[in-house]
Amino acid sequence: MVYDNPDGVRIGLEVHVQLNKLNTKLFCGCSTDYHDDEPNTHVCPVCLGLPGSLPVINEKAVDFAMKIGLALNCEIVGQTQFHRKNYYYPDLPKGFQTTQYDYPIASRGKVIIEGEDGERVIGVTRAHMEEDPGRLQHIGSIEKSKGTFINYNRSGMTLIEIVSDPDMRSPKEARRYLDKLRSILDYLDVFNGDLEGAMRVDANVSVFGGDRVEVKNISSFKGAERALLYEIMRQKNHIRRGGKIVLETRHFDEARGVTISMRTKEEEHDYRYFPEPDLVPMRVADRVPDILKTLPELPDAKRERFNSQYGIADMHARALTIQIKVADFYEEVALKADPKDAAVWVADILKGELNYRDLDVDAFRMEDIVEIISLVKQDRITEQSGVQIIRTILDEGGRPQDIVVSKGLLKVEDDIVAKAVEEAIAESPEAVTDYLAGKEKSLNFIVGKVMQKTKGRADAREAREKVLAGINK
């Protein structure tokens, strides 16, 4: 089935990724670990833009950027070059942003996603490095604010802006691209996507070959999908009513789920880019071979290996390889349990339960899932009980063997007793008749038989009740 893209939708995304796993900021030695700290406590003359301060490039940030570029199948530039992007804004302490312009560190890459009609290649135009501005905190709502605080803790954090080609044809494909990007970045261990502001998205979208509209201020992947759905609908409706789409920038209002016009092309800034004189170009091309060596096995390659090495369903391989933590977890489980069983238990069941609780795979012990799989495999508990054990561990804690006991989940004990009771009743027709005739003592005969058959593992009182229930059936 071929997706024919009835509305001629073209979506390109600009994703800002904050490399918050670097220890220090892009141009100064300030710590990046500010998220729990007071405002303006992770600052210095450089990231405050004090007069006379000068930037010094964080070499590790360059390595991270190259790693990302290579993982996105990009070409790496011969030498880095930074430019100044000049504009005035209170969160911008120098009155310009130090960024990359015509020599981005990486360009012309690609990302493969699960498109509307099978695998789809999304082009990566470029990935460049830049500094994050500070953060404005308004007192009250933005419209009626009595004042604004500026927190420069974020100022100078390393951002990688990844710009895609306009290759996505639906909000769903855009979402898949974002998920894939996050997956790759997660593998590279360059950022913690859970921290506030770690990934920010701007979207460019057009329909029927018309002019593109840029949608800014998208703060989540879900938001991106919603913003795009709205914007495509808006553009289609506008055209249907005889309107024309013009180049413009719109702002996504997350609360209302709508986009609002910010400025048209005529009002666009002239950023007056020019090379940053305070940073000398740095030759990086020679470092590519070494960086390549540090690249881990990436999601696509890992998925293929899981398919062939473990013989598991592609659906499972895909689910297991989105997050590297889950993939590693699975591989450990697969060493100690049947890989196919392990795939079902980790990908279908455990991941679902973790998702439901918004928990990470770290929240579960690998040995516990191995034990659960083994209990089910040995037919000592039911699959349903296995699920119950997972839920109990996640909600209340504990270990599988204790939960099996405390919740009475051992299928083995019940079955043996039940089977023994059944047999004992069948083998003792006289005793049954006697009992029904009022000879209570003949019941002891049958219970004794049950105890014999279960080698005393059954509880006598319980066995007696079960025999009674069996006779009265």
């Binding site: 007069p51 006379g52 000068l54 209170p90 020019f274």
Partner: protein, 475 residues
């Protein structure tokens, strides 16, 4: 005017009395100053000097008083670039050179006046009013480091630091009859120097003798990892202090003489070159063919960089703030009232040169010219050891004479700006007088070959007496 004392003289005086007494005597002189060279006198200077007396610092500059240009950051001491927009700004950190000076035991007496944001050749555009030339208080001291040159010439301090973007150390050194060095780009860390045009400027020392210049360079020179443009290279500048120019090959750029150059200035410079010949050097004319484009290239690059460098002064974090209904109005009111005319002119011109549609025509073209100018120097200096020329085309002009004619002021930089475009080192030394005003000889060298120009300058000094003349001693 107070007596000139060089660093070795200061050390003798300290040995005979104390750093505190020496500092106190300079502070007393400054207190009686009529030239408006200092903007701020540091209230901790005596305390620092006392500390040196007590701890017996063994630093190269132990107890030596020094003055610092208003655009070099000093922790706890106002640093305003002589602009209204930075009134009240006190840096929380020291520039690299200040750290070095403090470590060497120097005693900072205070900050010196300059053209606002170093944009000028006369120190008349300062928010604090003009500095007067000690040789003739009706004249300008040159600029933009006019304060740093004038206070040395007036004997208010033995040595000082300036900064040179297009001649801002050499011009006032020439006008005030002192020695001033613009080091090779990358030889001295700019960390803490408030940028005017970062790709062009260097911090440079000013003094009454070449020896003191070399001593100061030994203290402030060298690599600093906080300035990515500073070079990893060790050099002992005092090793250059030898009276020996035998066999030195001097090039005299023909473009730096003739039209626009005051006759008497040119004659004084030729006399100096003749002196070198007597001392065993040889000279020949050389050509720097792109000189005529250098001035235009320089001003486009400097103004473009300035338009961006000065964007941070918006009233938000420090300095002047003029309140407005919202941030943008506050920022534009602050800038409208905080910057002077010349600064505004350069920001506007620089913004224009970088704008879409003009960027290639002006900024990019200026960069190409810069490469050609640099090649001129490389070519000429492959053939000769140093270049010599008048530092300034005229002696110090009268206060008010040119301030309303920016173009004629820009033209005064014609012999100094090519050096900044090329990044090579250059020193200005006193080489005589015309009409009672000092004339400066500019000696230009190869990249990182400060020692050759220092040796040439030192030898000249050893064999002439111009540098010993003080204001009031020349008829």
């Amino acid at each position: 005017m107070a007596a000139w004392t060089d660093i070795s003289g200061i050390k003798e005086r300290i040995a005979a009395s104390s750093a505190e007494e020496v500092t106190a005597s300079y502070l007393e002189t400054i207190g009686k100053s009529r030239i408006n060279g200092f903007t701020t006198v540091w209230d901790r200077a005596l305390e620092v000097a006392r500390g040196i007396d007590k701890d017996g610092s063994s630093g190269l500059l132990a107890g030596v008083p020094i003055a610092i240009k208003e655009n070099i950051s000093t922790a706890g001491l106002s640093t305003t670039c002589s602009s209204r927009i930075l009134q009240g700004y006190v840096p929380p950190y020291d520039a690299h050179v200040i750290e070095k000076l403090k470590a060497a035991g120097a005693v900072i007496l205070g900050k010196t006046n300059m053209d606002e944001f170093a944009m000028g050749t006369s120190t008349e555009s300062s928010y604090y009013g003009p500095t007067l030339n000690p040789w003739d208080t009706g004249r300008v001291p040159g600029g933009s480091s006019g304060g740093s040159a004038a206070v040395v010439a007036a004997g208010e301090v033995p040595v000082s630091l300036g900064s040179d973007t297009g001649g801002s150390v050499r011009c006032p050194a020439a006008f005030c009859g002192v020695v001033g060095l613009k080091p090779t780009y990358g030889a001295v860390s700019r960390y803490g120097l408030i940028s005017y045009a970062n790709s062009l400027e260097q911090i440079g020392p000013m003094a009454t003798t070449v020896t003191d210049i070399a001593l100061l360079m030994d203290v402030i020179g060298g690599h600093d990892r906080r300035d990515s443009t500073s070079i990893k290279r060790e050099n002992r500048y005092t090793d250059a202090l030898k009276d020996d120019v035998k066999g030195l090959k001097i090039g005299v750029p023909e473009e730096y003489l003739g039209e626009g150059i005051d006759e008497n200035v040119e004659k004084t410079v030729w006399d100096a070159i003749g002196k070198y010949e007597d001392m065993g050097a040889s000279w020949k004319k050389v050509s720097l063919p792109h000189t005529k484009y250098a001035l235009a290239s320089y001003y486009i690059i400097a103004m473009s960089e300035a338009s961006s460098n000065l964007a941070r002064f918006d009233g938000t974090r420090y300095g002047l703030r003029v309140e407005g209904d919202n941030w943008h109005i506050m920022a534009s009111k602050t800038r409208a009232q905080g910057f002077g005319e010349e600064v505004k002119r350069r920001i506007l011109l620089g913004t224009y040169a970088l704008s879409a549609g003009y960027h290639d025509k002006y900024y990019l073209k200026a960069l190409k010219v810069r490469t050609l100018v640099k090649q001129d120097f490389d070519r000429a200096l492959a053939d000769v050891d140093v270049l010599m020329a008048p530092t300034m085309p005229t002696p110090a002009f009268k206060i008010g004479e040119k301030i309303n004619d920016p173009l004629s002021l820009y033209l005064a930089d014609v012999n100094t700006v090519p050096v900044n475009l090329a990044g090579v080192p250059s020193i200005s030394v006193p080489c005589g007088f015309t009409g009672g005003l000092p004339v400066g000889l500019q000696i230009i060298g190869r990249h990182f070959d400060e020692n050759t120009i220092l040796r040439a300058a030192y030898s000249f000094e050893q064999n002439t007496g111009h540098h010993t003349k003080r204001p009031g001693e020349v008829a």
